[in-house]
């Protein structure tokens, strides 16, 4: 069922770049250890190898950065072959240059083969990592969260709708439509990533329903003028956090409280901040931590080290801050999962 799509890694992701840097340098160190006659000469041997490896490594990473989008558009094996051949030629070229000044050079053929092997190893590594992490795992994590919208919310909302049916049938109708939409979106087939626009819509529908039963106790402030609706984000990024904000921030207080949702784009980063009143003596039944841990995990699966999630009690408020790379949804029209459901 969970077919894993073979894909090259995102060469603009810091985590991917870091992994390549570490693995290639480890391989160079290993080669130096094999080559050096004793521990004393290890450093010399490494510098010797680094003279070729580092320029090639830096140049390759720059080229991969530039060609990231083009490569992502090719079939997987074409991409791998292009990179392997490219890296091999770069290495051979560098070695040839060095051979002109240094008689102890490795030889163009051997250096090229070494580069080819290492590239193949890296390709294999990212391939396996891809299999292990996504989308199967991300989907499993998402399903764990999908199953978790609080029954407390569902039954209280149904009760509130029942109270409207005789007095204000029109409003009851709208509420049931909201509820249906909400559950359809929450239970939709897990898309790899969804758009921020849809996530905002989902959180809005959820808050409309909470407003119905909490009335003036719940105030919501949206600060999303600078939020890019086309940003790609993991599905169910906002709604569980907003649900927690109501459950832990609004319901335990008899006085009205405000939930603030601020989303903005800053250059190529997307910043999300959620604030709600903090009730230190409110009993936490773990729910909060589960949703936070789940979202943190999925952010990592999707954005690796480039995503952050931090929580903080600041004065009378509880704050959640998230930051992640701003990726735009591809130009192709996003499949409407409502139609699919």
């Amino acid at each position: 069922m969970n077919h894993v799509r073979d894909a090259l890694p995102d060469f603009r992701n810091l985590g991917v770049v870091a992994r390549i840097l570490v693995i290639v340098n480890l391989a160079a160190l290993l080669a130096a250890a094999v080559k050096a006659p004793g521990l004393g000469q290890l450093a010399d041997a490494f510098v010797d190898i680094a003279l070729v490896v580092e320029p090639v490594l830096i140049a390759s990473l720059c080229l991969l950065w530039a060609a990231n989008r083009w490569l992502a558009g090719r079939p997987y094996w074409v991409g791998v072959a292009v990179i392997a051949v490219g890296v091999m030629w770069l290495t051979a070229g560098a070695e040839w240059l060095r051979a002109s000044v240094d008689s102890e050079a490795l030889g163009v053929l051997r250096a090229g083969s070494f580069a080819l092997l290492l590239t193949a190893f890296l390709a294999g590594y990212f391939h396996l990592r891809n299999r292990a992490l996504s989308p199967a795992l991300a989907e499993a994590r998402l399903q764990a969260l999908q199953a978790r919208i609080r029954p407390h919310f569902l039954f209280n909302t149904l009760n509130a709708v029942l109270s409207l049916i005789r007095k204000d049938p029109k409003r009851a109708e709208h509420a049931l439509e909201d509820l249906a939409d909400l559950y359809r979106m929450v239970m939709a087939d897990a898309a790899d990533l969804t758009t921020l626009g849809r996530e905002i819509e989902l959180a809005r529908q959820y808050l409309n329903l909470e407003q119905l039963r909490l009335g003036p106790r719940l105030a919501v402030e949206w600060k999303i003028e600078d939020a890019p609706a086309d940003a790609l984000v993991p599905p169910l990024l906002l709604q569980p956090l907003v649900e927690n904000a109501v459950y832990h921030g609004i319901e335990p207080g008899a006085a009205p409280g405000t939930i603030e949702i601020a989303i903005r784009r800053e250059r190529d980063r997307l910043h999300v901040k959620l604030t709600n009143p903090y009730h230190p003596d409110h009993q936490h039944r773990q729910g909060n931590r589960i949703a936070l841990a789940n979202i943190r995990e999925r952010l990592q699966l999707h954005f690796d080290v480039e995503a952050e999630l931090a929580t903080e009690v600041s004065g009378p408020n509880f704050e959640i801050r998230m930051a992640m790379p701003y990726r735009r949804a591809a130009s192709r029209p996003a499949p409407d999962s409502r139609a699919a459901a």
Partner: protein, 259 residues
């Protein structure tokens, strides 16, 4: 045979739509089970102010409420001379439901159906007043944590003392004196059970005295009452009283001061 007088009902729920809905269902039942809603409240403390002044047979009480949950509300209600019967209402609280069933307390699930409500009201009329013991056991089993208030029944009213305001609790002959910065109250509970419930907030300084950990300002050398050697007394925030620390408790109390 004359029809029984209408059942007098009081509603406690923090959500207005939920109270409205309950009134509707009760209205639908009025034909087979005459009833009248005599009052309603949005929080526990509000309910405890209003309810004792009204003639109430049954209180329908939501569990999940701000300030004071439904179980605590019912426990304070039990301090009344003639408390009403209580039927709990909850949307979803697995722990509370298990606790109710274990302790034979009646509850309804939201959304509430007419026939179930009628059955619960009939049972409540027959079963009578809410009692403290099963409630205490249920509250402990449901894991709702300690109460936020202690209640003192005074001339048919319920006076609530926020636990956060209490400086110390002292066992007297039959009562426990509850001391706040402003005044004293007498409470009919045992110091041992209070220590068990509020152990996280109070420390025992003496066989007969619990002091709020956050109110300890310092210590002072004093001469023992019997004149044998010197002991220590606790200095408190906000009030001038000095409470002797027993030798047995001194190491624990001292550790608290150093920590």
């Amino acid at each position: 045979m004359t029809a029984p007088p209408p059942l007098r009902i009081f509603l406690v729920d923090d959500e207005r739509p939920a109270r409205d809905r309950m009134r509707e269902v009760l209205g639908d039942l009025a034909g087979e089970l005459p009833n009248v809603v005599v009052g309603e409240a949005a929080t526990g403390p509000e309910g405890l102010t209003l309810l004792p002044q009204l003639p109430v047979d049954v209180a329908l009480v939501d569990i999940h409420m701000p300030e004071m949950n439904g179980m605590e509300f019912a426990r304070h209600l039990a301090a009344l001379e003639r408390p009403p019967a209580v039927v709990f209402v909850t949307a979803h609280d697995q722990y509370a439901i298990e606790a109710f069933e274990l302790n034979a307390l009646d509850y309804l699930l939201k959304p509430v159906r007419g026939p179930r409500l009628a059955a619960a009201l009939t049972r409540a009329r027959a079963g009578g007043a809410v009692r403290r013991e099963p409630l205490e056991r249920a509250a402990a089993a449901a894991g709702h944590g300690p109460r936020r208030y202690l209640s003192v029944s005074e001339r048919g009213r319920i006076h609530l003392v926020p636990v956060a305001d209490i400086v110390y609790l002292k066992a007297e002959l039959k009562y426990v004196t509850v001391r706040t910065a402003e005044r004293e109250h007498l409470l009919e509970e045992s110091l041992a059970s209070l220590e068990q419930e509020f152990g996280a907030r109070f420390v025992r300084v003496h066989r007969s005295c619990l002091v709020a950990r956050g109110r300890v300002r310092g210590f002072e050398r004093v001469v023992d009452e019997d004149g044998e050697g010197a002991g220590w007394a606790v200095l408190l925030d906000g009030i001038a009283d000095r409470l002797p620390v027993s030798r047995r408790q001194w190491p624990i109390v001292k550790a608290l001061a150093n920590g």
